[in-house]
C-alpha cells in the first residue's frame, strides 16, 4: 500500500438549493482520502451525506467549495480529464436490478463501457472485445463467462446481477471502485460472496475501494479504515479496529450499540432522526440527540456549553484515529 492518496477530498462542501430557496447543506466540509489497495468504508444513516460524498468523489457531483484530487491533481469537470476519471474511478450502484438495462444482454452491458472509452484496440495484449468482456466477467466471478453473454438481466439471480455490474466496472481497468451499499438489496447468503469478491479484487488488482454503507458488520468484514458520517461531516475516522472496537464519538457508540450482532453493549437507541440539512444545529451538530449531553456526562466534563455553542473543526484525513467531539477531546487532555 503506497502512502500517497489515490483520491482525496479536502474541505468538500455540497449545497443544494431547494425549490423554496432554502439551502440544504449535504456536505459541510469533509476530508477523506483513499490510497491504492485500501478499502475505506463511509458509514452513516440516511441523510448523513455518505452518498453525496461518494458522488462527489467520482466527479458526478461538483462541490460548492473544497477540492477533490485524483493522484494529487484537482479534478477538472470538463473535457478529457473527466473521461479519464470516468474510466479509472468506477461507481457500482446499489440497486443492481435497476442499474442494468433490462433490454441489454450481459455482453452488451459489459461491452458498452469498452466501446465508449475505445479500449478494444488499445489493449496491451491485443485482445478482442469478446475476450475483454469474458475476462471482466471471470474477474467478477462469473465463470464460464461465455455462458452468460446472451442472458438478459431478468434471467439472472440478484447476486449475478451485482457481479455483472462489477464486471462492467472492471472491464475499464479502473484503479478505484466506489460501491454504494453493494449488498444491501442482496440475500444474506449472497452477501458474503460479493464482499469476498471485493476483497479479492483489492488483493489481485490492487484496487482502492470506497464502500458506502450503513452496515458496520460489512465494514468489519472488509474495510481497512472507516469514516463515520453524521449530517454532512465525518465525526470519527480511523482504522476499522479503532473505530469499531474503541469508538469515541457518542454517535459511533450509539450506532454500534444498536447493531444486533453486538450483544455486549447496552443498546442506546437515539430518539428522532438525522435532522434536516437545511437547519443544521449550532455548536456540535449532534448535540440535540447526544446521549452524553443528555445524561450529564458532558456537563461533568465541563463541556456542555461548548457542545451547545462551539462548532467543531473538520477532521483531517491523516489516517490517525480522530474524533469530532468536545467530550472526547476533553477526556484526552
Amino acid at each position: 500500500m503506497s502512502d500517497a492518496p489515490l483520491l482525496e477530498a479536502e474541505g468538500v462542501r455540497v449545497e443544494f438549493t431547494t425549490r423554496g430557496g432554502t439551502v440544504a447543506t449535504a456536505l459541510d466540509g469533509v476530508d477523506v482520502a483513499v490510497r491504492p489497495g485500501e478499502i475505506l468504508a463511509l458509514v452513516g444513516e440516511s441523510g448523513s451525506g455518505k452518498t453525496t460524498l461518494a458522488r462527489t468523489l467520482v466527479g458526478v457531483q461538483r462541490p460548492t467549495s473544497g477540492v477533490v484530487r485524483y493522484e494529487g491533481e484537482p479534478l477538472s469537470y470538463s473535457g478529457r480529464a473527466v473521461k479519464r476519471l470516468c474510466r479509472e474511478v468506477q461507481m457500482v450502484l446499489q440497486d443492481a436490478a435497476g442499474s442494468l438495462n433490462p433490454r441489454q444482454t450481459v455482453y452488451e452491458s459489459v461491452a458498452e463501457g469498452l466501446r465508449l472509452h475505445r479500449l478494444v484496440g488499445r489493449d496491451s495484449g491485443g485482445r478482442t472485445e469478446p475476450e475483454l468482456v469474458a475476462a471482466a466477467l471471470s474477474e467478477a466471478g462469473l465463470r464460464p463467462p461465455e455462458r452468460l453473454f446472451l442472458r438478459y438481466p431478468h434471467e439472472l439471480s440478484g447476486g449475478q446481477k451485482q457481479r455483472v455490474l462489477i464486471a462492467g466496472a472492471l472491464a475499464l481497468r479502473p484503479r478505484l471502485l466506489v460501491a454504494d451499499e453493494p449488498v444491501s438489496s442482496l440475500d444474506a447468503s449472497i452477501r458474503g460472496e460479493i464482499l469476498a469478491l471485493l476483497l479479492g479484487l483489492r488483493d489481485s488488482l490492487g484496487l482502492g475501494i470506497v464502500v458506502v454503507t450503513h452496515d458496520v458488520g460489512l465494514a468489519w468484514n472488509i474495510a481497512d479504515r472507516i469514516a463515520v458520517m453524521y449530517l454532512g461531516r465525518v465525526v470519527e475516522c480511523g482504522t476499522t479496529e479503532e473505530v469499531l472496537q474503541s469508538p469515541r464519538h457518542p454517535y459511533t457508540q450509539a450506532l454500534l450499540s444498536v447493531v444486533p450482532e453486538i450483544e455486549e453493549l447496552t443498546p442506546v437507541v437515539l430518539t428522532g432522526e438525522v435532522p434536516d440539512p437545511t437547519r443544521i444545529p449550532g455548536g456540535c451538530r449532534f448535540h440535540p440527540r447526544c446521549p452524553a449531553l443528555a445524561d450529564g456526562a458532558a456537563a461533568e466534563a465541563g463541556v456542555a456549553d461548548a457542545c451547545r455553542t462551539t462548532a467543531l473543526p473538520v477532521l483531517a484525513a491523516t489516517g490517525e484515529h480522530r474524533v469530532a467531539c468536545h467530550l472526547a477531546t476533553a477526556r484526552d487532555s
Partner: protein, 321 residues
C-alpha cells in the same frame, strides 16, 4: 386452550404454466399471546407466502392445503363474513414497503381511521379521532402529524403509521413482513423497540418475517428458519442464532458477523450457489447441493424435523456433532 395462531401441515403451491409450483411445503408452527416468533430465510423460501395465507390474502392461483387456525378457527375455510370480521380485529398484517402500502393522497389520520370505521360502522367522528390520537401516541408519533400525507413523513414514521393501522382494531395477532428492511439501523432499532413494547404491554402475539437473522435474534422468543418452502430449524432465538444446528441456519447466522470477532475480519462468510428451482427440487434434502457437509445419504430422503437439544432441525447429520 387454542393457540393464537396454529399452522398444521400448511402447504401452498402456485398454479403456473409449468405446473404446480410449491412455495410452502408442510409447515407446522404455533404463535401464542405475548410471544414473538420470527421467520427467517432468503428470497423465494416461502416466508411471505406463508404470511399472506394467515389472513387468506394469498393470490387466487394459490392452492392451500393443511390448516391455518387463528384462535382455533380455520381461516381458509371460514365464511366470507367471518373472515372480514377476523381481518384487522383478530389478526392484522404490517407489510413491507410502507411507502407503497399507504395511500399517497389521503391523510394518515384518515387511513388509520379506515379499519376502525369498517369494524364499528356507527362510530362518531369524535370517537374515531380520539382513537387515532391514542394510536399515534402508542406508536410514538407526535399528534401534530395526524394530518400529514405519507410523503411528508420519513421512512421510520411511515412504518409507525403502518403499525398504528395494524393496532387500530385491537387485534390479538400481528404479522409483520420485513417491517424494518428499508430502514436505517437506528430507526430499525426504534421500530423494533416499539414492536417489542407493544407485545409486552398489549399481550399480542407477533410473527415477524425477515431475511436478517440477526434482527430476529434480537426481538424474537423463537425463530423458524425456512429453506425451499420448509422449516429447517426451529428453536429459541438465542439457540438458532448463536449455535445453529442446521448447516443452512449456520450460513445465515454467520452472514452477519459479530463486530470484533477476529474470525470474520477480512473473511466475509458466504454460501455458494443459488436456492433450488421450486419446480425442480433436488432429491432428498433440498439444501444438499449447497451444503459443505452433504453425503450421499442426504440425497436419499428429505430429512424430517428432528428434536436436538431443545430445538428441532431437519438435517440427518445434526446428532453427529
Amino acid at each position: 386452550m387454542d393457540h393464537l395462531l396454529e399452522l398444521r401441515g400448511l402447504s401452498v403451491a402456485y398454479r403456473t404454466t409449468d405446473g404446480l409450483l410449491p412455495a410452502v411445503r408442510g409447515v407446522d408452527l404455533v404463535v401464542d399471546a405475548g410471544e414473538v416468533v420470527g421467520i427467517a430465510g432468503e428470497s423465494g423460501c416461502g416466508k411471505s407466502t406463508l404470511a399472506s395465507t394467515v389472513l387468506r390474502l394469498q393470490p387466487k392461483d394459490a392452492v392451500v392445503e393443511g390448516e391455518i387456525l387463528v384462535g382455533g378457527h380455520d381461516v381458509q375455510t371460514m365464511e366470507w363474513g367471518d373472515l372480514r370480521a377476523l381481518r384487522w380485529a383478530e389478526a392484522a398484517i404490517v407489510f413491507q414497503g410502507a411507502l407503497h402500502s399507504l395511500n399517497p393522497v389521503r391523510r394518515i389520520e384518515t387511513q388509520i381511521a379506515e379499519p376502525i370505521r369498517v369494524h364499528e360502522p356507527g362510530i362518531s367522528d369524535a370517537a374515531a379521532a380520539e382513537r387515532v390520537a391514542e394510536l399515534l401516541e402508542q406508536v410514538g408519533l407526535p399528534p401534530g402529524r395526524s394530518r400529514a400525507y405519507p410523503h411528508q413523513l420519513s421512512g421510520g414514521q411511515r412504518q409507525r403509521v403502518m403499525i398504528a393501522m395494524a393496532l387500530a382494531c385491537r387485534p390479538r395477532l400481528i404479522v409483520a413482513d420485513e417491517p424494518t428492511t428499508a430502514l436505517d439501523v437506528m430507526v430499525q432499532a426504534q421500530v423494533l423497540d416499539l414492536m417489542a413494547g407493544l407485545v409486552k404491554d398489549l399481550g399480542v402475539g407477533l410473527m415477524i418475517i425477515s431475511h436478517d437473522l440477526s434482527v430476529l435474534s434480537d426481538v424474537c422468543d423463537r425463530v423458524a428458519v425456512m429453506y425451499a418452502g420448509r422449516v429447517v430449524e426451529l428453536g429459541s432465538a438465542e439457540q438458532v442464532f448463536r449455535s445453529p444446528a442446521h448447516p443452512y441456519a449456520e450460513a445465515l447466522s454467520s452472514a452477519f458477523p459479530r463486530v470484533g470477532d477476529p474470525a470474520a475480519r477480512y473473511a466475509p462468510a458466504g454460501l455458494a450457489g443459488d436456492p433450488p428451482d421450486p419446480l425442480d427440487l433436488p432429491p432428498g434434502c433440498a439444501f444438499a447441493p449447497r451444503c459443505a457437509r452433504a453425503t450421499d445419504a442426504c440425497t436419499e430422503a428429505e430429512p424430517p424435523l428432528l428434536e436436538v437439544g431443545g430445538r428441532r432441525a431437519a438435517c440427518i447429520r445434526v446428532g453427529e456433532r
